[in-house]
Point group: C2
């Protein structure tokens, strides 16, 4: 199976590397071409357009920042749609609007191409170690066919239903994860102000009913003053905007998510956008 990969950011680059390591021939494209170099060294073919990636591939993976970026790499000038053959599959692993996803899938279906929306969770470390959680929506048959690729990138791989359900599940994931992150931020602020020992606190709180991935992975970084991204405040704010829009469409009042959207927007306004999302802590420092 020839694979293509579009979008070599913090998440995409290690995910593409894992496809190469698993033995998939890989064509890659990135808006900033220099990011292709390390993957070429692993055997990837660098392409000049998404269309060229698509011409070389049975399955094309996209993972870019925003809904409009997915639209551009699929349907823009020299977009993947120009090179896709009937019977091929597009797997969009970005986190974008569920409604737009459903529309993109219909446009691809009209040219005989299946789409899977398959956003991920697990952060940069999960991407590097091939331990991502992958939430896929779309035709079951296409999901089954693409499973070997998913297994090269993730550990918890779930088919969530039709197109859009992958993105809907991911937004649930972001609502939950965002509040878990605020939990870490307020807990660490309180522990520090109370003069508690960081390592003892990390161990004690991580071991009971307050334990979480966020506490175990981002708690130590905040205590250590490490605000490098993993997952940036800018992208996290974008996900919370999508979640807020989705909650509004569903008619739900969700005060926790609304608070998180306000806090991340404030962090963006204060110039913290390129910090890791644990930099939410710096709103109060």
């Amino acid at each position: 199976m020839n694979a293509g990969f579009i979008g070599l950011g913090i998440m995409g680059a290690p995910m593409a590397a894992n496809l190469l390591k698993a033995g998939f021939p890989l064509a890659v494209y990135n808006r900033t071409p220099s990011r292709c170099g390390p993957l070429q060294a692993l055997g990837a073919v660098a392409c000049e357009t998404p269309a060229e990636v698509a011409r070389r591939s049975d399955v094309v993976v996209t993972i870019v920042s925003e809904t409009r970026d997915v639209e551009a790499v699929l349907f823009g000038p020299d977009g993947a749609a120009e090179g896709l053959r009937p019977g091929s599959v597009v797997i969009d692993m970005s986190t974008i609007s569920p409604a737009a996803t459903v529309e993109f899938a219909a446009r691809l279906r009209a040219q005989g191409v299946d789409m899977l929306d398959a956003p991920v969770s697990g952060g940069e470390s999960g991407a590097i170690e091939g331990r991502l959680s992958i939430m896929a929506g779309g035709p079951r048959e296409a999901f089954d066919r693409c499973l070997p690729l998913f297994e090269a990138m993730g550990r918890k791989i779930v088919h969530t239903g039709g197109n859009g359900n992958g993105q809907r599940t991911k937004l649930v994931n972001q609502v939950v994860g965002s509040l878990n992150l605020l939990a870490v931020v307020e807990g660490v602020r309180m522990a520090r102000a109370a003069g508690l020992d960081p390592n003892v606190t990390l161990e004690a709180v991580g071991g009971g009913a307050a334990g979480s991935w966020m506490w175990s992975n981002l708690g130590p970084k905040i205590f250590a003053g490490d605000f490098a991204p993993g997952f940036s405040i800018r992208l996290h704010q974008k996900d919370l905007r999508l979640a807020k829009e989705s909650l509004e469409e569903l008619g739900l009042d969700a005060p926790g998510t609304a608070l998180l959207h306000r806090l991340f927007t404030e962090a963006l306004d204060r110039g913290l956008g390129e910090q890791g999302n644990q930099g939410l802590f710096n709103l109060w420092s």
Copy 2:
């Protein structure tokens, strides 16, 4: 080592049972005497007052609801202090005010008795299975001496520093756990409104960066409409009040914890106090 146990609630009863199963001779007291029966069947001696428990014990464990309840069973009429011998130890495993804890420890010290504040996390299931997280503050020597008792009740046992630090660590734990719980509530509401499959969503979200004890343990209960306590809304609201007071004393603005305190107070006002804390979900149903 003769042990005593005061307070046989949802948490206390299985914790006392685990001390008996580990071979400690145990004297027990509960305000409602009928709760002593199952422990007598396991070999415990039921006492009529906390003072009588103390007279029979080298180490007295207390786990009751509120700061004033701890004060009553220790220092009230027929309280444990009347029966404690110099060299014995009081372990208070309730979640109460750190400042009051420091004061109680000083009063006990004046009669030659060490105190450990050792609140727990891990819920009813953790208490039953002896898998609690225990956050102990107080003299290191007393902690070391009591370790065999702790090991009969918990798995993650941490010495957090001097008296009060156990309670301070527990309040950090409650801040973190409360926000993780709101995360579950908003995530489940969103998933249900979006028509996502409960089991698929539980699996997908639990496997990545949004995973938490709360998601894994209370998420399935909420999806199933099971609002039985574990840990009640009434007690959770009390912990959030303590956390809020502590944050104010520390001069910290913590909007997430403030929101949770408002929501749990509203749940209490609406008569949900005896539901499990996952009943926070019912504020919107």
